[in-house]
Amino acid sequence: MSLAGLFAQLLAVVLALGLAPLLTGWINQWRAWLQGRRAPGLLQPYRTLHKLFNKESVVAENASPIFRVAPYIMFGSMALACGIAPTLSTDLPLAPAADAIALVGLFALARVFISLAAMDIGTSFGTLGARREMLVGFLAEPALLMVLFAASLISQSTSLAQIVETLAHRPFAIYPSLAVAGVAFTMVSLAENARVPVDNPATHLELTMIHEALILEYSGRHLALVEWAASLKLFAYSCIGLALFVPWGVAEADTPIAIVFAIPALVAKLTVGGVLLALIETINAKMRLFRVPEFLATAFLLAVIALLVHGLLGA
């Protein structure tokens, strides 16, 4: 473990914590513009977080400790996920601790706890949200794993840092399997981050919501942490997607100074990615809940095709 690596790791986590609400604000702004509405300010998520942290946190009388610790666990796992994903550099002291499979497990941990917390209070909305979240989760997870396997087949390693290093190092080549896996990854991340074809992050319409139903009982600093964790999750997914499919610009172990250039590269990639996400959300309509399994099955099969194509064409 080098000093530069430690610095890169710290910088990656701090940058994720700071930039994640900004990414959410940027996407919301573009969504509003594309839908012909007046956009909220770019810094609106920060203002919301500030407001929520200063508010009193009201907890239901029959809440168990799970309800209180769930926001912290969720926030912690998302922050850790942002630390593992090679956002700026591949020389990360945390990277050997967890490979791609452990990363998926980390997301699953957060999901289990937020669903438990939602059921903990005993309101019907919370239970309904938890069931839907689990339905989406158990279909999205294998698809995500298959996508990561498709990428790791090329570099012969499940370590994300290793994958990025291999992909960025090699002379530019077209990997058809990665192209298919990229489409599958986009579909999975739309589902996992409660984005439009699957869930609408801006709605409180009772019958359709998934994510909002889960966190209905939270208030004050708990809600702030949950919201921040949701932004972090989106940030982590974007970074993993960028690292796998557009790996250029990430600093490597032998060139610590490249981190200086890695930050603007990351910001530029996220800027474009955010606009694309807003565009996808605008041109798609939210689908019926019972179509979601079909959507995610398609993502899973695309990822399987990516694996098969890699086997056939050999990259």
Binding site: S177, A179, A297, L301, V304, I305, L308, V309, G311, G314
Partner: protein, 219 residues
């Protein structure tokens, strides 16, 4: 540059395969036609790249013919047919769609394994994609089997021809010119006849469901 182009053939082949899957998963006829047009376009692109890399001028010609027929003419004809018949709504399938897609994956695995020894015998530049072409043919075949209505079956038939054409390009750098011309006109005449059939089916049974055709006499 040339290696990148050679890799782009693989990319177009995979696009062709994914579009064949998308057609199986698609419920709406209008989107089905758009997907078919896209599939034709990626076929044209793949043929052009093979033509450029192998320097075979007749492949340019067949790419042009594919463009005129499958990207322009047939989609326009299909649009007209569905407008006249007024069938833009959801497609009825015999199995549910996830099951169909699972069968599709099995077909892809079979096709890939089947094509591997054959591709080893070929010296063509795009021999690796023979498995993908075979998978496209089988998937379109599956689509023709599981759809109950006439228009999606016709689209499945056309998409199967796309797969066959790609197989010919991938394995042998294209069929002889005269065969290609023959197939192209066959497809064109086929679609015209099937169009007439669709109007007739509709007139007789007030529906495009081809299961009505199973009864041979009136009761």
């Amino acid at each position: 540059m040339n290696t990148l182009l050679a890799q782009s053939i693989n990319l177009f082949a995979v696009v062709l395969l994914v579009l064949a899957f998308a057609m199986i998963a698609q419920r709406r006829i209008l989107t089905l036609i758009h997907l078919f047009t896209l599939q034709g376009a990626s076929l044209v692109a793949a043929t052009l790249v093979v033509a450029y890399l192998t320097g075979q001028s007749h492949l340019y010609f067949s790419a042009g013919m594919t463009f005129v027929l499958k990207v322009v003419l047939i989609p326009i004809l299909l649009h007209r047919v569905i407008q006249r018949l007024n069938v833009r709504w959801d497609v009825e399938t015999l199995f549910n769609i996830p099951t169909t897609m699972l069968i599709g994956i099995v077909l892809v695995i079979v096709a890939f394994n089947l094509a591997r020894p054959i591709a080893g015998l070929s010296t063509s530049i795009a021999r690796g994609t023979l498995g993908i072409a075979l998978a496209c043919v089988l998937l379109s075949f599956l689509m023709m089997i599981v759809r109950a209505k006439a228009v999606p079956q016709v689209i499945g038939f056309l998409s199967m021809e796309n797969g066959l054409f790609f197989a010919a390009t991938a394995a042998t750098s294209g069929m002889p010119m005269i065969v290609e011309l023959g197939i192209a006109f066959d497809v064109l005449v086929g679609i015209l006849i099937l169009g007439v059939f669709m109007f007739q089916i509709r007139e007789q049974f007030d529906s495009l469901d081809i299961r009505h055709l199973e009864k041979l006499k009136e009761d």
